[in-house]
């Protein structure tokens, strides 16, 4: 068991080299700053994803992924209980893929907290973008008997002016409390 565990650790360390690519954003990107700059902060679950060409079709030259979120709770902003859509640059349409570096990635059924800027409405459904690219998204995961953790992945984003101590993992209840506190104190 010792041997297996050691080797697993070695493998995990080696496999931890996740793929990365990045845009460059300006910090800070701590929770209070993100809350202040975002129009809305939403705790939600991913219910659908679809990539398609931008307005005008293939001639737009740009692929976008539309991520549908079912709100769990709006922490900032007067949101709707109905699903909302995130428009995320990049995605795959057939044999063409577009990687727009540093944007937030979403998985099916993933529980997330996202800091949002509204882009507009489509047939009554709000369409949003994530603030500060991947830095504006926390993924929520829980383990039995332990409080759910909110974690964000900044490995794909280059940041000028982000502080080394910006938290990327904290209990969801702490994240919620910080967002609510920052939202109250925002001008």
């Amino acid at each position: 068991m010792v041997r297996s565990t050691s080797m697993r650790r070695i493998l995990v360390l080696m496999a931890a080299s996740l793929p990365a690519a990045a845009a460059t954003v300006r910090g800070p990107a701590d929770v209070a700053s993100l809350t202040a700059s975002a129009e809305s902060v939403l705790h939600a679950r991913v219910v659908a994803r679809e990539s398609r060409w931008g307005h005008g079709g293939e001639s737009s030259g740009l692929i976008f992924t539309r991520v549908t979120l079912q709100p769990i709770e709006w922490w900032k902003g007067a949101g709707t209980p109905s699903p909302v859509v995130l428009r995320v640059p990049g995605g795959t349409v057939g044999e063409l893929s577009q990687t727009v570096e540093g944007v937030a990635a979403f998985s099916p059924s993933e529980e997330v907290v996202v800091f949002l800027r509204k882009l507009g409405d489509e047939a009554g459904t709000g369409v949003y973008a994530v603030e500060h690219l991947a830095l504006g998204k926390f993924s929520v995961a829980g383990a039995p008997g332990r409080p759910a953790q909110a974690v964000r992945d900044r490995s794909h984003v280059a940041c000028v002016g982000c502080a080394a101590g910006e938290e990327d993992a904290l209990p969801v209840r702490d994240l919620r409390a910080r967002v609510l506190r920052a939202a109250r104190s925002a001008p």
Binding site: M1, S4, M7, L18, A23, T24, R26, E101, A158, C159
Partner: protein, 301 residues
């Protein structure tokens, strides 16, 4: 125990590498250019309020820095700056250039509120505006073949609508102060980093690397490359050797599919190491459960 020790010793003796490779959708095939020679074009519009020659020269130096790496044979041919269609992305059958351009106005300021491109995307090309996050300084859009990772097009957009780019040497510019003789957002520093992404590199965990993610304001250290950046680019495009691609993908100019490499590190040795460890793991589980149990007992005791 001996296998673990051998692996650990091997890890210690191998050269450290921290670079990462970009992949299709973050977890698909590794991105790569099929040729060692490709072009880029700076859009002649430049950026308002800054004489264009210094900034264009800074972009050129960024690509020249990568081209100067001696263990690779990448070349970058500059297509003369011109007023292009300023069209970022990729259109099949269209004229696709690897553009470097500055967007100098925000889409929110120029796009009519009822234009569907605001919610569906595409305003940046339609209205020549910055459609991205206002906090983003620069964005690289890479179009590739989904199944192989072969890059077809890579464009760099710089957010001139929100950021003051400089090319001078000097101390960091004071916030809100004049930007003469000081560094705000250095063009060469930014483009050298972004150009690394256009070639298929991701971020490095080496804090000294140009491909490291964090940067303080006024930084210029990423104008040049550092050992980890050189190691990364030479691992993908080794001079005189096939380009490193994902397993099962045929390397450019080769008749055989790629033998594979990891998304990071020094490529094939890591794959070999992983394979060796996996084999050892299987042996441990299947062939020698008793030995493993004995070790666990010893450790517990």
């Amino acid at each position: 125990m001996r296998v673990s020790a051998a692996l650990a010793a091997l890890l210690v003796t191998l050269p450290a590498s921290a670079y990462e490779r970009a992949q299709v959708n973050g977890n698909g095939p590794l991105l790569f250019w099929a040729t060692r020679e490709h072009s880029y074009q700076i859009d002649a519009q430049g950026i308002a309020g800054l004489s264009i020659q210094p900034e264009f020269d800074a972009v050129r130096r960024s690509f020249a820095t990568w081209a100067a790496v001696s263990c690779s044979d990448l070349k970058f041919d500059e297509v003369a700056p011109a007023r292009t269609d300023r069209h970022v992305g990729y259109v099949q059958g269209g004229t696709n250039r690897n553009l470097v351009l500055w967007r100098t106005r925000k889409c929110a300021s120029v796009v009519p509120a009822n234009d569907p491109c605001l919610t569906q995307g595409g305003c940046s090309n339609k209205y020549d505006c910055w459609d991205g996050d206002s906090s983003a300084i620069a964005i690289t859009t890479t179009t590739s073949v989904t199944s192989t990772g072969e890059i077809l097009d890579a464009d760099i957009e710089l957010n001139g609508a929100a950021f003051a780019f400089t090319t001078a040497d000097g101390p960091p510019c004071p916030p809100g102060g004049p930007r003469v003789g000081c560094v705000a957002y250095d063009v060469q520093n930014t483009v050298t980093h972004e150009a690394g992404h256009t070639m298929g590199l991701g971020h490095s965990s080496d804090q000294t690397a140009t491909m490291y993610a964090l940067a303080p304001s006024g930084e210029t250290s990423k104008r040049i490359l550092h050992p980890d950046d050189v190691q990364g680019i030479c691992a993908i495009y080794p001079k005189g050797q096939p380009t490193s691609v994902s397993p099962g993908v045929q390397p450019p100019g080769s008749a055989a599919p790629g033998g594979g490499c990891g998304s990071s590190g020094a490529t094939s040795w890591e794959a070999l190491l992983v394979a060796a460890a996996l084999i050892a793991l299987r042996r441990n589980h299947r062939a020698r459960p008793t030995a493993a149990a004995a070790e666990r007992t010893a450790a517990d005791g």
